[in-house]
Assembly symmetry: C2
Homo-oligomer: 454 residues x 2
């Protein structure tokens, strides 16, 4: 594929009233609609009208935060996808779900059903969850170690992959004359017996339009990168600078190549959270206004939880001491990888505590930018054309206003540059991302014991 | 409430191409659309146009049957409800889910989200699942005993009830000025510590429009009846005769009264599967035709699985020996209660094996009737007015044709008799069923340790 033909992928990451933690306090926010499915359907329809690749929902099976200072309750995302799928035709539908807290048979069914119902538009953002408070919703006192979570995640993924493949593509006969609804030779018990799971199968559903939903992953820890390089087809990641993003991009692509994968089938999609204005000053003014609405107690609690540090003794308007986040450079888990982003900001920019809270308020470590449509399009183009991104997970600080501004002003510039589609060329999320449709593991395998994951 | 004002409840039990196991082989069946969500959306819209109370989906997290002779794969029902909810406005949305194979926190979220997204139309048909083959999809070799399943079900229900109540109705403030999204005094950790579950909470969602989805139950075993009398607000049940139905109705209502419940808040809804024709002969002709399409190997496998008996040595056209199902009168579990229906048919009607298979092919033990709209309306009226039913779970043998016929011809007769609504008077499923909206267990409770289930 030449650079000229290479196309950006753009997702709309839908998140309550916006990605800025104080967006809900804006006078024009949609906070009264934070739990209204129509609010999300409208945004998905707007993203589809702009030909975006997908919408995306984060998730955690617990409150986002124990503090009362922002929308912390959230509708379950897979049922949201199902509702949105019934009111859209083309846009991809990605939701996050945890391998630590679901049964693989249940989760395989949920995503299979969304993929079937939507005509092949489902994607699964695979996470292992890292919160003790979530663990306490599921019979545990604390979250398992990253090593155990990722070992379980890999086996979980192997199980659901087998389940999604358990009906071969041509297994359904629906032959009125013979009375055979399916071909028994083409529906396979998976007979999985592993460390964490014993699952007989087959899945209670025929193979879905995409064969399997798109495998998405969002962890940047060592375990997360290894898992992503082996399994993921799209990776959501957080970087503040093009340098950091390029290093991550190179690392993931080379890991994938070493595992024998085609690096073009591993899309790297950093987050970008754009404040837009007709002028740069107008964009920054909006950013400053929303920053001014933050509740410091919320940001402090988030930062203390992330870093395992105490911040209560610091003055909001004094420089953050360099030593506070020192030693965070060793990426052990996702908390630490996000913490490294914080340490880098502190070291590079020497912000006051208030300034640091504002920096994180916008995108929780993702790249927050404020500028004109042209400036934002230039950043996207620069990252895309210089080995830092295959596309972006777009995280508007305020919904729907800043998604609407993005699709109305930034997308056309990217289209004019030939970097982004003006019409969908396919019908599935795999089509949009340029990913192949996988064959069933069981296709052409006479003895199902021979069908093993490689 | 006087008899005159008492209103029927009518659900459309959606099930693939129809409830008759051979419906898919009919020349005009919709078998090609068996996994097309639009097929189910259209039916739900038709049921809503006829002002029915709800649609209903059965479920089992496994194949319906290992035999290839009928549609055995099925879309996951909660995501189906979500999709249908996004395309309907008033009709109730009931899906089946198993307490044995879900985590309570996950299931609480799924139904809460459907209830919120649909404006208060969700119902949960609570089942414990009784199949060993399903157990083998979930790390087990065989299904737990009925006693253990129902003990787990009760604790599961207690947990999800607490979760659904964990946000008081007025917990969301969304107060831009103060920066408080919720009132911390009104969001409660549930801190459940029981035999099977330890769940901290709160739920990751505000309280839903109905407070809790409607609690539906469909078991008729001893354990099932006790569970239903204690917990259920609507009960789906299978009876062949008005006598059996009245005995069940009386038993359930008196059990509920003994537990201090209002018997009007426990709706008893038998299944009815109507073949309709302009004349009785025409209806029976359609029934005979679809019966003729059955594959005996399918029905035999179902019956053998149900009864734990071998039937292969019998001639299809000889009378079923009375002793074959003798001793099935002791209702131990749901399989046995369904088996008792079979034993009663054999004893009462002395059918050949083929005739017995045809009897069961239509509704798996539910009441299959063939007649004119007036005849079917008369049966419904007779059962409703004589203490056998508060309404019906309508199970058309062939979709969409026999649902359309029911709504076009039977419903108007019931409306003319003043037994069924001509317009919805409320917006929620609780409104349709005439059920109260429960207060949160935590409402007005200062110390959450005081909030205990009674």
């Amino acid at each position: 594929m030449t650079k000229k033909n290479r196309q950006l992928s753009l997702n709309a990451f839908l998140h309550d009233t916006g990605h800025h933690e104080a967006s809900w306090r804006h006078a024009d926010s949609s906070v009264e609609r934070a739990h209204d499915i129509e609010f999300y359907i409208e945004q998905a329809q707007a993203a589809e009208a702009a030909k975006l690749d997908a919408i995306f929902f984060a998730d955690s099976p617990g409150l986002w935060s124990a503090t009362p200072y922002r929308p912390t309750a959230h509708l379950e995302p897979i049922t949201r996808l199902a509702a949105i799928g019934a009111r859209t035709q083309r846009i991809g539908l990605i939701a996050t779900a945890s391998t630590t807290f679901y049964e693989p048979y249940n989760l395989a069914r949920l995503f299979s059903s969304v993929d079937i119902a939507s005509g092949g538009r489902a994607g699964w953002n695979i996470v292992t969850t890292q919160s003790d408070s979530v663990a306490r919703n599921f019979n545990l006192k604390q979250i398992p170690s990253p090593e155990e979570r990722y070992a379980r995640a890999q086996e979980f993924l192997d199980v659901v992959t087998k389940l999604w493949d358990s009906w071969e593509d041509d297994a359904v006969l629906a032959d009125r004359a013979s009375g055979l609804f399916f071909d028994p030779e083409k529906v396979h018990a998976i007979n999985h017996v592993g460390t964490y799971y014993q699952v007989e199968g087959a899945l209670a559903a025929p193979r879905s339009p995409q064969g399997r939903p798109v495998y998405v992953q969002a962890g940047s820890s060592n375990e997360g990168r290894a898992f992503a390089a082996r399994n993921a087809e799209a990776i959501f990641t957080a970087h503040q600078t093009i340098g950091d993003a390029r290093a991550f991009y190179d690392d993931i692509k080379s890991r994938a190549v070493k595992l024998g994968r085609n690096p073009d089938h591993v899309k790297v999609l950093p987050g970008i959270s754009p404040f837009l204005g007709d002028t740069e000053a107008e964009a920054k003014e909006l950013q400053d206004h929303i920053n001014s609405l933050t509740v410091p107690a919320y940001g402090l609690a988030q930062l203390e939880g992330l870093g395992g540090v105490s911040l209560g003794h610091l003055d909001l308007d004094e420089e953050v001491p360099l030593e506070l986040f020192a030693g965070s450079g060793d990426v052990l888990d996702n908390n630490r990888s996000r913490l490294m982003v914080v340490a880098n900001i502190v070291e590079r920019d020497r912000p006051t505590l208030r300034q640091l809270l504002h920096r994180l308020a916008g995108g929780r470590g993702h790249n927050v930018v404020a500028g004109t449509p042209l400036q934002v399009a230039d950043i996207i183009t620069e990252w895309f054309e210089n080995g830092a991104a295959d596309g972006f997970n777009v995280m508007p600080p305020l919904y729907p206003q800043l998604l609407d501004a993005f699709t109305a002003t930034v997308v056309p510039i990217l289209q004019d540059r030939g970097l982004f589609r003006t019409e969908y060329s396919g019908t599935t999320l795999r089509d949009h991302y340029g990913l192949p449709r996988p064959d069933s593991l069981y296709a052409g395998v006479a003895d199902e014991r021979e069908a093993e994951l490689v």
